[in-house]
Homo-oligomer: 502 residues x 2
Amino acid sequence: MTADQAYQWLEQHSRETVYLEAFSALANWDQATYIPRKGHPHRAQMQATLAKLLHARNTDPRIGEMLARLEGSDLVQNPTSPQAVNVREWRRAYALQTKIPERLAVELAQATSEGQSVWEEARPKNDWEGFKPVLKRVFALTREVAEAIGYTEERYDALLDQYEPGATTRQIEAVFGELRQATVGLLQRLEASPRKPDPSLLHRHFPRVAQEAFAKEVIATLGFDLEAGRLDTVAHPFMLGLGPGDVRLTTRYDEGFFSMALFGTIHEMGHGLYYQGLPSEHYGTPMGTEISLGIHESQSRTWENLVGRSLGFWRYFWPRAQARFEAFQGVGLEPFYAAINTVQPSLIRVEADEVTYNLHIMIRFEVELALLRGELEIDQAPEAWDAKYQEYLGIRSPTLADGVMQDMHWASGLIGYFPTYALGNLYGAQFFAQAERELGDLQELLARGGFATLLEWQREKIHRQGSRYWPRELLRQVTGEDLNPRYLIDYLNRKFGALYGV
Amino acid sequence: MTADQAYQWLEQHSRETVYLEAFSALANWDQATYIPRKGHPHRAQMQATLAKLLHARNTDPRIGEMLARLEGSDLVQNPTSPQAVNVREWRRAYALQTKIPERLAVELAQATSEGQSVWEEARPKNDWEGFKPVLKRVFALTREVAEAIGYTEERYDALLDQYEPGATTRQIEAVFGELRQATVGLLQRLEASPRKPDPSLLHRHFPRVAQEAFAKEVIATLGFDLEAGRLDTVAHPFMLGLGPGDVRLTTRYDEGFFSMALFGTIHEMGHGLYYQGLPSEHYGTPMGTEISLGIHESQSRTWENLVGRSLGFWRYFWPRAQARFEAFQGVGLEPFYAAINTVQPSLIRVEADEVTYNLHIMIRFEVELALLRGELEIDQAPEAWDAKYQEYLGIRSPTLADGVMQDMHWASGLIGYFPTYALGNLYGAQFFAQAERELGDLQELLARGGFATLLEWQREKIHRQGSRYWPRELLRQVTGEDLNPRYLIDYLNRKFGALYGV
C-alpha cells in the first residue's frame, strides 16, 4: 500500500466517523430541545450504542498502521499542508484514544454519568456530603487518565492538552498571574468610583417574541446565515455544529431581563460563525475542524463582548432596539451602554461581567490544579473556593450551591477545561487588537454596520485555518507575537476606566 | 456455540441495529421539521454513510450462521414464542437483504433517489416525457428485484410480501374485486340521492393556534401519551416511532379548512398508538415491532374514520369543538357530522372520502400489476389510469399532475405497496366489528368518552402482539375468520346509506 492509498483510507475513515458523530450531535440537540420527556432512557441507549461503535472505529488498529506508513513520507513534508495537518491530528487523536485503557474509559464514563445526576440532585440541597464521594471518584479517575496519557512537566498538562493542544500549566499560571493582578486592581478602582451605571433599565418588561425577533435580526446582521442554521430555546444554551450548512444555536429567554437572551445568542453565534467559516472542502478531517476550545471561545467572546457590548455596536443597533421594545422609550444610548457593562462581583460565573469573569475561571483553575497535584484534598475544596472568592472578588457564598457546587463541569469529568474560557478572552483581545491595526478604528466600523469587514478578517485569519495551527502558533501567525495578556488587560482598563471615570 | 449463545448474539446484533436505525429516523424527522435549508446536502451524506453501515450489518454472514444454528433447535419449538417469532423474522429480513445483489440495490437506490427529484420537477409541469424514462427504469429494476427475491405464483407477490408478509396477489384481487363492485354500487346510490351534506361549514376560518390546541386535546383524550411523543408541522405528514417513549406525529394546517389538520392528526395518532402499544420489553427485536403496513394502516384508519368520523365520537367532542371555534357557533351536530362525511368523487387520493378512497387504491394496484406483468407498457399508463378513473369514479383528470403523476410512490420505488392502504381499511373494519361484538355498542361507548376501553382492546389484541402473527393469522386470532371484505362493505353501506337516506 502506498502512502497515497494509506492517506485515502484514513481520509475516508475520518469522514465517515464524522458523519456518524453528526448523528450523535443531532440526537444531543434534540435531547436539549424537542425530545418528549419519556424519550430520554431510549435516547441514552441509542447514544451508548453509537458511542461504542465510534470508540471501536477510533481505536481501529488499522489507523495506527496507516499513520505509520504516512509519517515521514513525502506527503507530509510540508507541515502546514492539509495532508500533514490531518496526519498530525489523526495521530494526536489516535494516541489519546488508545492510551486510555478501556477499563478506565468505562469507569470514568460511569462515574461522570453518575456524577451529573448526583450533582443535579445534590446542588439544590447544598448536599456536600452526598456530592463529595462522586467528586473524589472522578478526580481519582482523572488522575489515572492523566497518568495514562503521560506528560513531561505536570500532570495537569496531560488534561489541558486534550482541550487546548500545546498549552501548558506553566504558561497558564504565568499569564493568569498577570491577568489576576491587573483585574483585582481594576476591580478595586471601579468599586471605589462614585460613578455607577444604573442596570435597572435592563430589568423592565421585554416580551419574548420581540426578544427572539431582535436576536435573529442582530445575528443575521452580524453575518450568521440563518438558512444554514437555527435558533432554538433550551435550559442551558450551546452551539452545535452538525455539519456544513447546519449550525444549531440555542438560547433562553427572561422577559424580565434584557441581557440574557441577546448576549447569550450573540455568544453562541460567535461559536457558530467560527463553525460556518471552517473550510467545508476539508469537512470530515481535522483540517476542516476547529482547533481548540480556547480559539472557539475567543470567537464567541469577541462577538459577545468586544463587539456586542461595545459602544460602536450600539450606535448602530440602539435605534433598532428602541423600535422593538417599549421599555426603551426615552432611554438614552449612553445610560444603556453603561448598564450592559455594569461591573459587580457576583457568585455565579455564567452571570459574571467582563471584568470579573476571568477571576471566576482562575479560582476554578487554581483549585483543580491543587487537587490534581495533591496539594489539596477534596474535603478542603469548599473552604479553598470560598477563600479565593473572598480574596479576589471580596465576596463569599452563603451556600455551597452558589459556591463550589455551582458548576457541573467537575462532576462531568471536565477537568483541565476551565482555563480555555479565560484563554478565549485573552486570545480574543489579542486578535481584536490586531484586527484594529489592520482594519482601522473598529468602533467606527461597527457604528457604520461594517460587521462583514470584521467577519471576513476572522474568516481569513482564523476560521479558514481550521486545525492548521495549534492555538499559540495561530496567535503568532495572526498577530506576530506569543500570547500576551496585556491586550486584554489594556482593553479592560480602557473600556471600564472610561465608563467608571477611573 | 450453543443455540442460546447464537440467540443472544442475534438479539444483541438486532437491538444495536435498531438503535442505530433510530438515529436515521431522528434525522429523517429533523429533515421534515427543523433542518435549515442549506443543511440538506450534508444530511444526505450522513444518511448515506449510516445506510452503508446498516447494510453491512444487515448482511453480515454471521447472521446466517447463527440462524442456521437456531432453526430446528428446541429454542424455536413453539412457533409463537418470542424466540421463534424473532428467528422467523430475522430469517425473513436476512433472506431479503441478501437475495438482492448489491449492484441492483445500488442501481435502484440511485434510480429512486433521482426518480423523486424528477417527479418533484415534472409533476407541476405535467411533464410526462421528462418523467417517463425514470419511471421505466424504476419499474425495470423493480422487476429485477422481484425476480431476485423469487415467488411461486406471481412476480407481484415478491414485492407485496415485503410490505405485507403472507399476502398474495390472488387473494387481493379477489377481495378487491368484491369491494370494488360494492363500492361502485354504493357510490352510484349516493350520487343519485337528493339528500346531500353541506360541506361549506368546514371551509370557514379556523385559527391555527386553536386547531393545534384542539388536535392535542383530542389525541390526549383518545389515549396518546404526549409525554412520550410530539406533534409538529410538516409539508407531508407522517408518524415516526423513534423508540419507546418517543413517537413523533406530524400534521399540517389549513386555516380555511377544518378537516385537514384534525383528521390528519388523528390518522397519524392511530399509527402512534400502535407504536406506543408495542411490547417495549421486546424493543429492538421483531417481537417488539409492527408486523405490516396493512396492520399499521388499520390502526390509523380506525381512529381517523371508524372512530374520528363517527357520530358517537362527535357526540362527545362536538361541544368541545364549539368551545374552541367561533366558526361553529350555531352549527348543529347533525349537519357537522354529515359535512365531515361528504362523499364526492375526486382526483386526489389523499383528499378522498371513506367511500371513494379504496377505488383510488384499486386503480393504482391494477395499473402497477399490469405493468409488472408486462400486460401494459409505461407509455400506456396515463390512458389506463384515466380510463379506470372514468369507469370507477366517473371522472377524468384534466392534467397528468392530478392523474398518473399525482403520487410519488412509484418514482420512489414503492411498488407493491399501495394495496396495504386498502387492506388497512379492510382489516380495520373487521377488527372494529369484532370489538363491537366483545365490547358492546361502540357508538355509545365513544359518546361516553370511553376511548380507553377501545384502546385497551386494541392494545391486548393487536398492539402487544408485535410481529407474533402475520397479518392474516392475526386477523384469524382476533376475529376468528380470514380476511372478509363484507365488514368494510357493510359498514360503508350502513353509515353512508343512513347519511344519504339510501
